[in-house]
């Protein structure tokens, strides 16, 4: 067992500290159109995570040096509010937020039809209001809903979810304790309709069998989350 000490996070019945089974995902709610001044927006709560995403554009890309003559650029900014965790976060960009912005942009670029908007920029602002664990997954999932809400053409929605290893057991959608004291973490971004993978990171060690189990859990969870995303977009459409 890794992590800190001998904290037991899964009981003898296979239930986790928050009462979930190994494959269960935390409760999710999605609401679109939460920021009227934005071209598209979404608020997503996932467990205790609370993330708001606003989309602006397509608009002229500034400064000009970032313009691409044949396509638009995605300007993704992931930011955690200073009050989003119990330890105050210093406002502004840091190495972690830059990294998450970059991987989120890369994942979204694979579905957004950027070639339809040459020389333009699409601003994706991801603001984490309350952080528990897996905020990069929430940010990416919410961003794809917000892009769809903004009417940006996409080939698919991106669903992101993380599985990991806790007390030598692979579990889906880690909560704060499992994320902090677990042995491994495998966030993935999946295109639910085609099953393609657009984002994959891994922290810690997993055996090939554990990796496969975590992968399967993520794909299964993505399918469930996709239904909630579709429902939110449809509901947003009919008010």
């Amino acid at each position: 067992m890794g992590g800190y000490g001998d904290i037991q996070m899964i009981d003898e019945n296979g239930l986790r500290m928050d009462g979930r089974t190994a494959t269960q995902v935390r409760p999710i709610t999605i609401e679109t159109g939460v920021i009227p001044v934005a071209d598209g927006s979404c608020r997503m709560t996932w467990g205790t995570n609370d993330v708001v995403v606003a989309i602006y554009g397509p608009m002229e890309a500034h400064p000009r040096k970032i313009q691409r003559q044949d396509r638009a650029v995605l300007d993704v900014r992931y930011n955690m509010a200073p009050f989003s965790t119990s330890d105050r976060i210093r406002p502004g960009f840091n190495r972690r937020s830059r990294e998450i912005s970059k991987v989120t942009a890369d994942a979204l670029e694979s579905v957004v039809l950027l070639e339809l908007y040459p020389r333009s920029k699409i601003r994706v602002e991801i603001e984490v209001l309350c952080a528990e664990a897996g905020t990069r997954c929430v940010g990416l999932t919410a961003a794809s809903v917000a892009l769809a809400d903004a009417g940006i053409p996409m080939t698919d929605l991106v669903v992101s979810v993380a599985s990991g290893k806790v007390n030598d057991v692979v579990v889906c959608d880690l909560n704060k304790e499992e994320d902090n004291y677990g042995e491994a973490d495998l966030p993935m971004g999946v295109l639910p309709n085609s099953g393609e993978l657009v984002f994959l990171q891994m922290d810690g060690d997993l055996s090939p069998e554990e990796f496969q189990t975590a992968w399967d859990y993520n794909v299964q969870a993505a399918s469930e989350i996709h239904k909630i995303m579709v429902e939110a977009l449809r509901k947003g459409g009919v008010n």
Binding site: S120, A148, A150, L157, V190, S194, G195, V230, G237, N239
Partner: protein
């Protein structure tokens, strides 16, 4: 993993989201917002599916304005040089209004005396380039600087619904509010009249815009 089932085929007026499978490409053709990938029709936008002569189109629920030649638009002057105005028409790129297509004769360097930054104009899109840059003109009947009234904004795709059935809806709003109203293709609406009338017209437009799906499905608002 599998996408949406397309066993029953695409249904008219159904709300689709990006990635929805709309069936095989042989039976239907791809229109606006639909993409053909490996002989499968895929929705690329969140919106209402319409089937017209076997062509699938998606009418997006929200969208930004894309200029097309001859569109009537309301723009705001965002900047100017000695002989050009830059006009914000709500599109990804600002349009250009050259001095030769401006409202009146202006001498070189006096563009700001004719149209100053922040002022609103009613103009028409004359030309759209491949790079999405556009040129607007104020030469034409009714095209002018807007000095009075209020300018409101609704989703551009809703404008088409307002002008359906010989502008019935618009005429109703005009009669109820006793205001002059001009709707433009970029979703901006000019309303001029008494303040109470303007408020009434704006409220009515907002309510119609919010309930647009109910309206477009044949319901009453």
């Amino acid at each position: 993993m599998s996408g949406n089932s397309s066993a029953d085929g695409p249904q008219d007026s159904q709300i689709v989201v990006p990635g929805d499978n709309l069936g095989q490409s042989g039976r239907f053709e791809a229109g606006h917002g639909v993409l053909v990938k490996n002989n499968t029709l895929l929705a690329t936008k969140n919106g209402k599916l319409t089937i017209d002569n076997n062509v699938l189109n998606i009418e997006p629920l929200h969208t930004t304005y894309t200029p097309r030649p001859s569109d009537l638009v309301i723009g705001f002057v965002e900047g100017c040089t000695n002989n050009i105005w830059f006009i914000d028409i709500g599109a990804p790129f600002n349009a250009i209004l050259p001095m030769s297509l401006g409202p009146s004769k202006a001498s070189f360097g006096s563009t700001r005396q004719v149209l100053d930054i922040g002022e609103a104009i009613l103009c028409r899109v004359q030309e759209v380039e491949e790079t999405h840059s556009s040129v607007v003109t104020m030469k034409g009947m009714g095209l002018r600087k807007i000095n009075t009234g209020s300018i409101d904004k609704i989703d551009p795709h809703f404008i088409g619904h307002l002008s359906k059935n010989n502008n019935n809806l618009l005429r109703e709003i005009k009669e109820e509010s006793d205001c002059r109203i001009i709707t433009t293709d970029n979703g901006r609406i000019w309303i001029d009249g008494e303040v109470s009338g303007i408020i009434k017209a704006r409220n009515k437009l907002t309510s119609l815009s919010e309930n647009y799906h109910v309206l477009s499905d044949g319901g009453n608002v």
